[in-house]
Subunit: 312 residues, 2 copies
């Protein structure tokens, strides 16, 4: 089974950029014609129609950017908002992205005690078996290439994910230093040994992923490090030389190319930079029609690629 | 809108115990006849059948314990393992429990940056509006009474939940000191001021919920504190006098009545104690037939009630 980090590094090299497109759809920004088409027919529930509109919008975005970027990351909250119908659209979005050759990150920030984390890990990364009494069925469920997780519960909440990753060639990205304004409430507090909590989490993650290096020298255990805190990112880059950073906060959240630079290693690798609203709703920024969202997304990706190339 | 803490305290007093039944179904422990019935008909997918079996099993458990306990807590990982069909069973489980007069906790450990946390909060606790162009539809989605959340991102990842709670009379339980063996990897580390991380989180939570007190004197901002760490629980009880503790770890995870005692205030209130496997699969412990799981669950609840009454 190929190491996830190697697959990711290959895809970054092939596409010539480390851009991750965040598929965080919002119904009020989806073109009216897509919504009208989703309602048409009339025999589905409003929630099913909403979910179908989201899926259709995502497919348009994926079609527009699949040849340009290595990775997409649908954030599951924007699907769960439509209940199980939304989760269906989430599954189908992951599947469609995979068919188009993209690496997927299920942005779900899951975590729990060991036995529960195991269920999440099987659902999102592995396979699930059921109905042993009748015919046994073994099937992947979400089948994402990777998932974001939360480190608060310590190793035994992370281990089941690492095990599924090793078995299925998948990856994880654990929160370390998040991009939001109040991430420092907890993460920046000073420990007895002078380090900050986010640094301690960085060391923990480095140790959790130490045995999981691919040929590329990177581990399938990655880290979420916000573009909005470049100084902290520079420290973390030193602490975790082998972990790939998933970097949110570029674009709408205020981070620029200079801010993401410290997330990369000297080889120009070691990070992927996410942009959600700045790409999928780029039609607003470019003052284009909503129906031209695919073209706008493409243009936004090309601009972002150029922006990042200045500093890498 | 009645404060969630008041509703919870009333239900605890009415039922005369603080037991929360964890609805964490596992297909291999569900009676064969329920699974056979779920498969029958043959026109549904195996995943839909699995989800139906889970729902049916839950209904049986709920019917058996609804007059005895105040709260149930379905853990969403055990539903997501069947993809969107599982999430459908999750929605229906919450709905059924509510119809039977139970208070529900969506055990989902959700959290993210503000704009994303808002989507989770709306989906799980509030209402969602969509299709403005056609008829506008506003509907609750999961409509749980409360949800478990993760505090790692700080206040702006918690605030959207607090806002929905205030608006809809709902509650949250944030992780503070979790019940798993390696919860100390991060939570027990010593800060510069001598406190542990879990204590700092306790202080943060106390401040986040300080304005949300009901007539009962308790806040709708609750805390998850494991029964497996009674010393830490005692410290947290002092730090957070107004926050209701959701206490996992009793039963299968090794905690007993003496261990949960420190989670309660002197008034005998301030905590609810969860038991999942020890109740829903109690037929194993009592060496009863799987089909008698409801009766066994009832017996397990009554034993647990007696056990807790010894120390409260």
């Amino acid at each position: 089974m190929e190491n996830f980090a190697d697959r990711l590094v290959e895809a970054i090299k092939e596409k010539g950029n480390p851009i991750c497109v965040g598929l965080d759809p919002r119904l009020d920004k989806i073109p009216a014609e897509i919504k009208r088409k989703a309602i048409a027919g009339g025999d589905k529930t409003p929630l099913a129609a909403a979910a179908d509109a989201v899926l259709e919008f995502n497919k348009g975005t994926i079609d527009a950017v699949a040849d340009l970027v290595p990775v997409v990351k649908p954030q599951i909250a924007f699907y769960e908002i439509f209940g199980h119908e939304g989760v269906r659209a989430y599954e189908e979005t992951l599947k469609y992205a995979k068919e188009k050759g993209l690496i997927t990150i299920a942005d779900a920030k899951r975590n729990d005690i060991g036995s529960t984390a195991e269920a999440y890990a099987q659902a999102f990364l592995g396979e699930v078996s059921f109905f042993e009494d009748a015919d046994e069925v073994i099937t992947p469920i979400f089948d994402a290439d990777s998932i974001t997780i939360n480190p608060y519960l310590g190793w035994d909440g992370v281990k089941p994910f690492v095990e599924e990753c090793a078995k299925y060639g998948k990856g994880i990205f654990s929160l370390v230093k998040t991009s939001n304004p109040s991430s420092g409430d907890l993460q920046d507090l000073e420990m007895a040994d002078g380090r900050s909590i986010y640094e301690v989490v960085g060391y923990l993650l480095d140790s959790w992923g130490a045995n999981e290096l691919g040929k590329s020298g990177y581990s399938f255990v990655g880290a979420v490090v916000g573009a909005t805190y470049p100084e902290q990112a520079a420290k973390l880059r030193e602490i975790m030389p082998h972990n790939i950073f998933l970097v949110p906060g570029y674009g709408a959240q205020g981070g620029g190319a200079e801010d993401v630079k410290p997330c990369f290693n000297k080889d120009g690798l070691g990070a992927i930079v996410n942009n959600s609203r700045g790409i999928i709703f780029a039609y607003e920024k470019f003052e284009m029609a909503p129906s031209e969202y695919g073209e706008a997304a493409r243009r936004a990706v090309l601009e972002m690629k150029e922006d990042l190339a200045r500093v890498l």
